[in-house]
């Protein structure tokens, strides 16, 4: 019976992404419940060099799909070969554009059941059970593979669903994947690359996010949020309105058409809380909203709702936290 749990592990410059560390930890937890091993499928620049380090998060083995800096989808056929050669219960993929691309190709290439993005996944009764918020968060569903469905189940996992194991040591066994270089997916190339703002933080890695919306009023307002994010050790995010206005990079947009985040703390400043924004942050553990409007929709899902002027409250909060930290 399939017991191993696979996970996708994206690397950049030889460093595992935060999602790779989270999924390695999650796969390791699921695998021990199922009586198998966690096996990584690593890709991206420096993946071969960094692969063994995933042992520290519990990966027993890592199969390197390729270690060049090229579009993630181009690794799909190698991923399919590795998955087809394994006898695994589940494959965890990050709910990011790259993770979804590879996961989707696997569903089509290997006829696999798909779940997610999930907020929890468990190994039970020799299969997996996935819990997800659907219909824009109005319903929580629990799903399993249909009886007799092929394995592994492909599971898209939201960021911060698992917390990376720390302080452990371990080295994973590393091997190379087979796979045809001539697959249709391999014909996707980067025709032009335009790297830009070095200040664009990776929201997937943030456990604290300070997000701003229309009420932030402009780039200067985002500087105020950035200072608060800094004292909290977090990152700045934005609603679509703020990104469309050009106040902040689209990489930092949170919502249905931006990032889906699951931080421990989400501070929403000047964000009214449209449903499209809500679906990007509804699984945040703690939500604080700061808004001038006492009746903004975000009040319905904030844990703490602060009515007032964000241009006064945010700097005051930054000072207060700084004072307590140094005190």
């Amino acid at each position: 019976m399939a017991r191993d749990v696979l996970f996708l592990a994206e690397f950049t410059g030889g460093i595992a992404t935060r999602s790779a560390l989270e999924l390695a930890t999650g796969a390791s937890e699921l695998a021990s419940a199922a009586g198998g091993a966690a096996v990584g499928l690593a890709y991206g620049s420096g993946a071969a060099a960094g692969a063994a380090s995933l042992g520290a998060q519990g990966a027993a083995r890592v199969i390197v799909l390729g270690d060049e800096d090229r579009p993630a989808i181009t690794y799909a056929s190698q991923a399919a070969a590795a998955v087809g050669g394994a006898d695994a219960l589940a494959l965890l993929a990050p709910a990011t554009p790259n993770g979804r691309d590879i996961a989707a190709a696997l569903v089509g290439l290997l006829d696999l059941p798909a779940f997610g993005p999930v907020r929890a996944v468990r190994a039970v009764d020799g299969t997996i059970e996935a819990e997800q918020a659907t219909l824009q968060g109005s319903v929580i569903t629990t799903s399993r593979p249909a009886d007799g469905a092929p394995t592994p189940a492909v599971v898209l996992v939201l960021p911060n669903t698992f917390t990376p194991a720390e302080g452990r040591s371990g080295t994973a066994d590393v091997s190379r994947a087979d796979g045809s270089e001539s697959s249709p997916f391999a014909s996707v190339t980067v025709a032009e690359s335009h790297p830009a703002d070095a200040r664009v933080a990776n929201l997937d890695e943030a456990t604290v996010i300070v997000a701003g919306g229309r009420g932030v009023g402009g780039e200067a307002g985002f500087e105020t949020l950035r200072e608060l994010a800094e004292v909290l050790g977090g990152a700045v995010g934005a609603s679509r309105a703020a990104a469309d206005a050009g106040w902040i990079a689209y990489q930092l947009q949170i919502g249905q058409t931006g990032k889906v985040v699951k931080p421990q703390l989400y501070i929403a400043a000047g964000i009214s809380g449209a449903i499209q924004h809500r679906v990007g942050m509804q699984t945040a553990e703690n939500v604080v909203a700061i808004n001038r409007d006492p009746d903004a929709p975000i009040g319905e899902f904030a844990d703490l709702y602060v009515v007032g002027d964000l241009f006064q409250i945010v700097p005051a909060l930054t000072d207060e936290i700084r004072r307590r930290k140094s005190g």
């Binding site: 779940f115 092929p150 602060v306």
Partner: protein, 260 residues
């Protein structure tokens, strides 16, 4: 260049939603709309026709008979014709089954570009486009803020970690676009009238040469439970206090939860 835009009919964004006893979305009496993110794919396709980069736009949907309304709505924005794949055996189809059926329909339509929205309102993983590409054996260009066509190739502008890339692949491709392609055009009255006369075909699984048995009940997954989210504790409020006091109370609240 021939484009097929896949559109999905979904419950209206604000509509009250329920599940049936077997955990399917109960669509009876719920206002249905074209998936808002699919309208961006429609807009992108029509812009490519406007600029002369593409010649024809066909719409493809899989769903119940009333999903024809979504196709008429797309046809009112522009484009040439539409196909609805509908079959009782497709009730409750999951992403795998949907991809299989759409891929079979696309095999028959043989477009240069199969274009889709980046996600569906009622959906889950955004996995259908990539699974369709895999089934058809063509490249996937996903999450484009813009799609261009030239010299037998398709290109998308896609966000990278800090900037953006142009990704390229030879036709035919499956592509998805985001809401950054530009606001979808409104259907004019003239467009709505014209849409009524545009060809709309209905295909069954048999028409596609697919066997319902091979679709395994249209799903490799099953929902075992659906429930309302846990009731959230009541929202605490801080209001009508000066900023420094508000700040101190927020900090207390964060400290009580060990967030600072």
């Amino acid at each position: 260049v021939k484009i097929v835009v896949c559109v999905k009919q979904v419950p209206a964004t604000g509509a009250e939603k329920r599940y049936t006893d077997d955990y399917r979305l109960d669509r009876a009496g719920v206002e249905a709309i074209i998936n808002p993110l699919d309208e961006y794919a429609v807009e992108q396709a029509l812009r490519l026709v406007d600029s002369g980069a593409a010649e024809t736009v066909t719409y493809l949907s899989m769903g119940p008979e009333q999903a024809a309304e979504a196709l008429r709505r797309a046809l009112a924005m522009g484009g040439d014709d539409a196909v609805l794949v509908t079959d009782p055996a497709l009730v409750g189809a999951d992403e795998w089954a949907t991809a299989r059926v759409l891929a079979a329909a696309l095999d028959r339509l043989a477009p240069d570009v199969a274009l889709m929205g980046m996600a569906s309102d009622d959906g889950r993983g955004s996995l259908v486009p990539g699974a369709v590409a895999a089934k058809r054996g063509v490249p996937l260009l996903s999450y484009g803020a813009e799609l261009t066509l030239a010299d037998g190739k398709a290109r998308i502008r896609r966000l990278s970690a800090a900037g953006f890339d142009w990704l390229e692949a030879p036709l035919p491709v499956v592509a998805t676009v985001t809401d950054q392609v530009g606001e979808p055009r409104y259907a004019s009255l003239k467009g709505i009238m014209a849409a009524k006369r545009k060809p709309l075909e209905t295909w069954s699984l048999a028409d596609l040469g697919l066997d319902a048995g091979g679709l395994r009940g249209a799903a490799l997954t099953r929902v075992t439970d659906a429930r309302a989210p846990d009731p959230k504790p009541p929202t605490e409020r801080i209001e009508n206090v000066p900023a420094p006091e508000a700040a101190a109370r927020i900090a207390d609240w964060l400290a009580a939860r060990k967030l600072i």
